[in-house]
């Protein structure tokens, strides 16, 4: 697509996308150093793009790739534990496997996949044409990719990190973890952290400043609300892990002794820093899933979300209380009775807003005309699984019982019910729900249902038995178990371990079917028709535009009058009979909007700088590990790129276009810098 789609004549904006010939764009010497990228097709249009939709899709593709990687790592772990004295992995490799599995899933799959949804949908949901800082957005994506790749190169460079995803110190100091794995881990996460931080700032500004006219905060779609909460959590959680990672880097690569007990250091420092980040992080992981089902459940129950305000406020409450409970991860570390009691109570408190949400979802479905589409199945699956995970969470909020459970498979069961059941199922609901929006075609429902049921059965078979295994005392992170100590009868560890391993493969087949579904829907010979404009009878703004949306999202920025604006445009209540009547179709609404389209739409132009800046960072990181000279080289590139970036206007000059623009575009709502 053209960089700037501008109707060439003053005639009304054509109603059908693409029928207005896009203006030709000529490259100009934008600012001294590099020519401005202008390709509108081919790989360049992706690599240098600043379009939030393209970036969203790229986030999604890369996160999916890492999901598969993390999944393979998980399967190897389950293979190892399928029988007694497993020999699939060596002890060292086993440590690397569970560490990288968790790290990959948390930092390279769930968080970026949530970013994919947020990037793609937020501007559409709030009626904006892009995010506030498009180039920073691109920069964030490339940081994520650069950091993720960097982290995974450690597999080929002596071994990956092996200290567990929370990388406790001094256990992960050079003495006990002599490979460079932990260095790669610290530096890689530092780089992906930049993506989270910049993304957070970007989305908060976007949401607060760029909503369509009429959209007050309490008329904002619930998805947008929950993502806003997540971004605030990220904003304040990322710097804490940044500090921790820097200290770790100085410790391992520059000889400092922050966590070295022999030098008088306090190993709890790491634990506090990590979990001050870590507990907010679990909400960062799960709230996007909540956000998605809060959108999906009402649509397929044909009812508005029950207690919108409660869902908003409980989301915000989670956002606050989430900061005061981190030490429940440290009950067993000798904090002292007062701290333990305080954090125990605080942790129980946080179950309240979480429970509020579950009640709201249930009441949304209550009495609704429920349609069990695949998206809906995943959403309902989330509510059920997450409830189980929340309940086991409360059992270890009780400190005495937690000292029994901690570091056993019971914890593993808990957080997989919350993370897989709460976040991942939500993401899959989102895939099925928004697929037609992003790609113009509906995924196959039949394959989708197989996909759902296999994942659901697989998940419960894998993680359900872990409650039993854990209460029987099998520790987490142990590379094998023995027949001699497996116990008898119903509680036999061997039996339940086998069930869990078989379950994990069923789960994997379920995920595989999702990929098959994508292929099936989009393969060249596919007879899947183009999706209708409004396939689900949806309620929010993103469905007011075409699928997939044009580069500038909306020909005319819609004016908002109500929560669930799109629904209210389609339906009216008959005041005499009290009946809800359909008064307009999606096609009619779209046509009406497009008929009044804006004539001049300036979009931010593509840029080379974000990707250059982002890929200078791993150069520096390799430098930290291997050769200090590289730090200087990378640093120089960073410096250059920052200057280049600052000197490049975010919107290419009027003279960059052919025919030249008359100046003063209507890009008021786009930021001037960034």
């Amino acid at each position: 697509m053209a960089i700037i789609e501008r109707p060439t004549d003053p005639a009304p904006v054509p109603a059908v996308a693409g029928s207005g010939a896009p203006a030709v764009v000529t490259p100009s010497q934008a600012y001294g150093v590099l020519r401005r990228p202008v390709s509108s097709t081919g790989w360049r249009s992706w690599v240098f793009t600043v379009d939030h939709k393209k970036l969203g899709i790229m986030y999604g593709v890369v996160a999916m790739f890492f999901f598969i990687m993390g999944g393979i790592e998980a399967l190897l772990i389950r293979l190892q534990l399928a029988g007694p004295e497993g020999t699939v992995l060596s002890a060292g490799l086993y440590n690397e496997m569970f560490t990288m599995h968790a790290t990959t899933m948390v930092f390279l799959f769930v968080m970026p996949m949530a970013a994919a949804f947020a990037n793609y949908l937020i501007p559409l949901q709030i009626g904006a044409r892009d995010v506030a800082f498009p180039r920073i957005n691109a920069f964030g994506f490339w940081c994520f990719l650069a950091g993720g790749l960097f982290l995974n190169t450690s597999w080929f460079l002596g071994g990956a990190a092996d200290g567990g995803w929370f990388m406790y110190q001094p256990n992960a100091s050079p003495l006990y973890s002599p490979t460079n794995g932990v260095d790669f881990w610290a530096l890689g996460l530092q780089i992906t952290g930049i993506a989270s931080l910049t993304g957070a700032i970007n989305l908060i500004v976007t949401i607060l400043n760029m909503r369509a006219p009429g959209m007050t905060l309490m008329k904002m779609p619930i998805f947008t609300w929950m993502i806003l909460v997540v971004q605030f959590l990220l904003l304040f959680a990322m710097p804490v892990i940044t500090v921790a990672l820097f200290l770790l880097m100085f410790q391992r690569s520059f000889g400092a002794t922050f966590f070295d007990v022999a030098a008088g250091a306090d190993p709890l420092l790491w634990q506090h820093l990590f979990w001050i980040f870590g507990h907010p992080e679990v909400y960062i992981i799960v709230l996007p899933g909540f956000a998605i089902v809060s959108e999906v459940l009402p649509v397929f129950s044909r009812k508005p979300l029950f207690g919108y305000r409660f869902v908003v406020f409980s989301g915000a409450a989670i956002g606050f209380v989430g900061w005061g409970v981190w030490a429940h991860h440290m009950f067993a570390s000798g904090l002292g009775p007062v701290s333990v009691a305080v954090f125990s109570v605080a942790t129980m408190l946080i179950a309240i807003p979480t429970g509020v949400k579950i009640v709201n979802w249930t009441l949304t479905m209550w009495g609704g005309k429920i349609q069990f589409t695949t998206a809906m199945l995943f959403a309902v699956g989330l509510v059920v699984s997450f409830t189980i995970g929340g309940l086991s969470g409360v059992t270890h909020a009780v400190a005495p019982s937690d000292t029994q459970q901690t570091d056993t498979y019971y914890i593993v069961a808990h957080f997989h019910y919350t993370i897989f059941g709460g976040a991942v199922l939500g993401l899959f609901a989102g895939f099925y729900y928004w697929w037609p929006k992003a790609f113009g075609k509906l995924l196959n429902e039949k394959l989708g249902k197989w996909n759902f049921w296999l994942m659901m059965i697989g998940m419960n078979m894998t993680f359900g038995p872990m409650h039993i295994i854990g209460l029987q005392g099998q520790p987490r992170r142990m590379m094998n178990w023995t027949e001699a100590r497996a116990g008898e009868g119903f509680f036999n560890l061997g039996f339940w371990n086998r069930v869990a391993s078989v379950g994990s493969f069923i789960l994997a087949i379920g995920v595989f079917l999702f990929l098959v579904n994508i292929w099936y829907t989009h393969r060249a010979k596919s007879n899947t028709p183009k999706a209708p404009l409004d396939p689900w009878d949806a309620r929010t703004l993103e469905w007011i535009t075409q699928s997939p949306p044009k580069e500038h999202n909306f020909d005319k920025v819609p004016t908002v009058h109500a929560l669930d604006e799109f629904f209210h445009r389609k339906y009216e209540v008959d005041h005499e009979t009290g009946e809800v009547r359909k008064v307009a179709t999606a096609e009619e609404i779209l046509a009406a909007e497009e008929a009044q389209g804006d004539k001049h739409i300036h979009l931010p132009s593509p840029s080379y700088w974000p990707i250059i800046l982002a890929f200078a960072l791993p150069v520096m990181a390799y430098g930290v590990i291997y050769n200090r000279l590289l730090i200087v080289v990378g640093g120089l590139i960073v410096l250059l790129a920052m200057f280049g970036w600052a000197l490049e206007p975010s919107v290419a000059d009027d003279s960059d276009y052919d025919p030249p623009a008359e100046g003063g575009g209507t890009n008021k709502e786009l930021a001037t810098i960034g």
Binding site: F236, F250, A256, F258, L273, P649
Partner: protein
Amino acid sequence: MAMWLFLGSECLLFGGLISTYMLYRGRHSAELGPDQIFDIPFTSVSSFVLLMSSLTMVLAVSAAAQKDDRRTNLWLTITALLGATFVGGQVYEFTVMYREGLGFTTSLFSSSFYTLTGFHGVHVTVGIIMLMALVGINKRSRVPGDKAEVVEMVGLYWHFVDVVWIIIFTLVYLIPA
């Protein structure tokens, strides 16, 4: 607003670093602790220089608001120079301490001290780069949109870094260990 958010995040970054320092500042050998190593008069002077740069930054922002390019550039440059003086002073201070035997890895105190103040120094340096970029943009007059706003944003950052220094100076240098 973006800058406000970013600075909010930065508060936690420095919060974490300062906490680390406070935890470890007593952990050092007898001769090389905070009370022995700091040269308070010298650091006071360089702190004063940094404070002055906040003043010149205010002047730059007000000049930008009046669309006076020449004066804006002048004050921006002076601010950058004052900032550079401060960083120079820090480099000098570090060198002296290093000569006296306080290396980065000497003790927990030294590691956390250098980390904290080093981070702050990097922030000042980034600020200087931003100021220079502003001057560059101004010269070629290619700031898209509202120039004054951009100058104000950088100003905000600059004041923040100053305030952080005042906190660090008080906690690290002035309060005896």
